[in-house]
Amino acid sequence: MKPFRRITARVAPLRRANVDTDAIIPKQFLKSIRRTGFGPYLFDEWRYLNRGEPDMDCASRPLNRDFVLNQPCYHGAQILLAGENFGCGSSREHAPWALSDYGFRVIIAPSFADIFYANCLKNGLLPIALDNAQVSALFNQVGPGYRLEVDLETQTITTPYGEKIPFALDASRKFRLLNGLDDIDLTLRQADAISAYERRRAQDAPWLFQHELSDFPR
């Protein structure tokens, strides 16, 4: 996982509440066998005027010019500003996959759906929950050329006007994100303990290690 320390980036405002995971990435894309490549289909039904299908070439699809991500001034945005209860609906991990594949690293909203929130952090995406008032203040400020600085170490957002907004994140998740460690990295820090367990188990229960399944003829 990519470590996250600090970014200064463009902000795309998505003024909607209850954006569900089906809107983030519609169900027809779930048949994919990959976790990358979802970026072009992010918010598919809002972004394009025709129905998206897996493996479609999006370059030639009719764009919905009104949709925020299609406005040139928001191209390259890495911070998404959204309404409350962002990421509700099905638990598909494809939603954070699509957001990060598109290039987002931070989502700021008044609230997030639980599973989505956890899935974001598993995939190197930083969800920041702020007060309603703070979020609407940001919505009022945002526009072409508007950039925010997000510093994870100090847990602060800095606006172009120098205003500092603190945000919360639990310690173990912050630690993981700062160091770019996914759950697997963290577990692998106990690799010695795992190996020791395996050695002990091979002695106590040797039958579990008798068959090397991979050696069987294919």
Partner: protein, 489 residues
């Protein structure tokens, strides 16, 4: 190395016997403690996984994740893969028509080849439903932790193994580390005492249990099924019961090891080979029972003699009644949420309160799935079908064996002919109409007697209506065109 912001106790694992001998433990406690590598201050534990089963639907992103991170499987030999959800059950030599299904299956083949993982590919004689082949091959053994990216992994608990379903990120985690980060669940005991009557099967026992405790009855717990009625079940029957633990809300179901377990396991391809190793394993496996005075957080007692053949009438496995009952009236339901749920279910299922179950007519019959596709299930169904023919209103009746070996065994016993002569279709092994990911499915409005485990809206095809029953009950419905009480045959 950066230090962790929270302490992890590496000595949490109780490796020695003295501790175990002092405090009474449930079977679940024993399995948990034996696989515990460490415990973090927040209660999350690192658990060692002995067996990882994979199939084509939930594994591709996990393999891709490994590849992207440049990681290798921790212990290749612990993995066993099979294609089951998407495979066609007819003319397999023709390959898979649906390009998306085909890609998933081919991707599994490719991933297994790349990482050196043992796979039963679609054309392999041992291929079958992942939860059927694990035990059949002896890849599931007592005392193991068994996981798979599939909720019905609970099936393997029938062997006194701690077995549960996991998500795609966890599949990747197990591949990379041979461990999982988990929190311990509560202990629940369901005791079924006494003898079941003639015609009452493991499926009826587990449906009756779910009818009694509800689909959330086991939430947050691991259920141990015990009592003389459970002991009396064959391994096939025990797998049927544990399979549906997930429908009772529990991620894992368990049944203690006894002579029935040992007799089933002995001699299977991946079971311990050699007299000495076998004896050593058996000695350890005999400890896999809950201690006499172990304490459970929740206990439910059920009288086996009260259980009749069961039929679900709604869109949740808890919406179930005995075959001699009528479709219940939502008006009798005190709980508002349940009442509304029952009304919606009746509407979707197009059945009416007060209708006798035996007056429900079917369009299709499905005998298969990881709940009921093993040899005993097929024998049960064939015994009812023998010498009879399908009722006129039955448009299609499928028998889908759980695996290649089950299919061949049934053919040796002539069961395939019994079914074919009656008008059933005898298919190749796979998940098939259990979830309709392949070409086998219900059309909108069609009504099916199914031996599978989920009667959710659209599960067997968009708009399809599913009644869950035992193999014998499904067979009887096929012959009569409507549900009949198998006890009267």
């Amino acid at each position: 190395m950066i230090s962790l912001p929270f302490p992890i106790d590496l000595n949490a694992a109780t490796s020695g016997f003295p501790v175990a001998a002092m405090s009474p433990k449930t079977l679940y406690d024993k399995l948990w403690d034996e696989h515990l590598i460490s415990r973090a201050a927040d209660g999350s534990c690192l658990l060692y996984i002995d067996r990882h089963l994979l199939h084509e639907v939930t594994s591709p992103q996990a393999f891709e994740g490994l590849r992207l991170a440049g990681r290798k499987p921790w212990r290749v030999a612990a993995n066993l893969a099979v294609a089951d959800h998407n495979v066609p059950t007819t003319e397999r030599f023709r390959g898979i028509d649906d390009p998306v299904s085909r890609l998933q299956v081919e991707t599994l083949d490719r991933n297994c080849a790349e990482f050196g993982i043992k796979e039963f590919a679609m054309s392999d004689p041992q291929q079958g439903i992942v939860h059927v082949i694990g035990p059949e091959q002896g890849a599931t053994l007592p005392g193991m932790t068994v996981v798979c990216g599939d909720s019905h992994t609970s099936t393997h608990g029938a062997f006194g193994a701690l077995a549960f379903g996991i998500g795609t990120s966890e599949v990747e985690h197990v591949l990379a580390t041979q461990c999982l980060v988990q929190r311990k669940a509560g202990n629940m005991l369901i005791k079924v005492e006494g003898d079941v009557g003639r015609g009452v099967t493991a499926k009826d026992i587990v449906l009756a249990i779910i009818g009694r405790i509800g689909t959330a009855g086991g939430t947050g717990h691991t259920i141990e099924f015990a009592g003389s009625a459970i002991r009396a079940l064959s391994m096939e029957g025990r797998m049927t019961v544990c399979n549906m633990a997930i429908e009772a809300g529990a991620r894992a179901g368990l049944i203690a090891v006894d002579e029935t377990t040992l007799a089933y396991v002995k001699g299977r391809p991946f079971a311990p080979q050699g007299e000495q190793l076998w004896e050593q394993a058996v000695a350890a496996w005999k400890q896999l029972v809950s201690d006499e005075d172990a304490v459970f957080d929740k206990v439910v007692a059920i009288d086996a003699s009260s259980i009749k053949p069961q039929v679900t009438w709604g869109t949740s496995p808890e919406m179930v009644v005995a075959v001699d009952a009528v479709v219940p009236d939502p008006a009798d339901e005190a709980d508002v949420v349940k009442r509304e749920g029952a009304k919606r279910a009746l509407q979707y299922m197009d059945v009416h309160p007060g209708t006798p179950i035996t007056r429900i007519y079917l369009d299709k019959i499905f005998i298969g799935s990881c709940t009921n596709s093993r040899i005993e299930d097929l024998r049960d169904a064939a015994a009812i079908v023998r010498g009879k023919t399908l009722a006129k209103n039955i448009k299609q009746a499928l028998v889908v064996p759980g695996s290649g070996p089950v299919k061949r065994q049934a053919e040796q016993e002539g069961l395939d002919q019994v079914f074919i002569e009656a008008g059933f279709e005898w298919r190749e092994p796979g998940c098939s109409m259990c979830l309709a990911m392949n070409a086998d499915r219900l059309e909108a409005g069609e009504r099916c007697a199914s031996t599978s485990n989920r009667n959710f809206e659209g599960r067997q095809g968009y708009g399809g209506r599913t009644h869950l029953v035992s193999p014998a009950m499904a067979a009887a419905a096929a012959i009569h065109g409507h549900f009949v009480d198998v006890r009267s045959i």
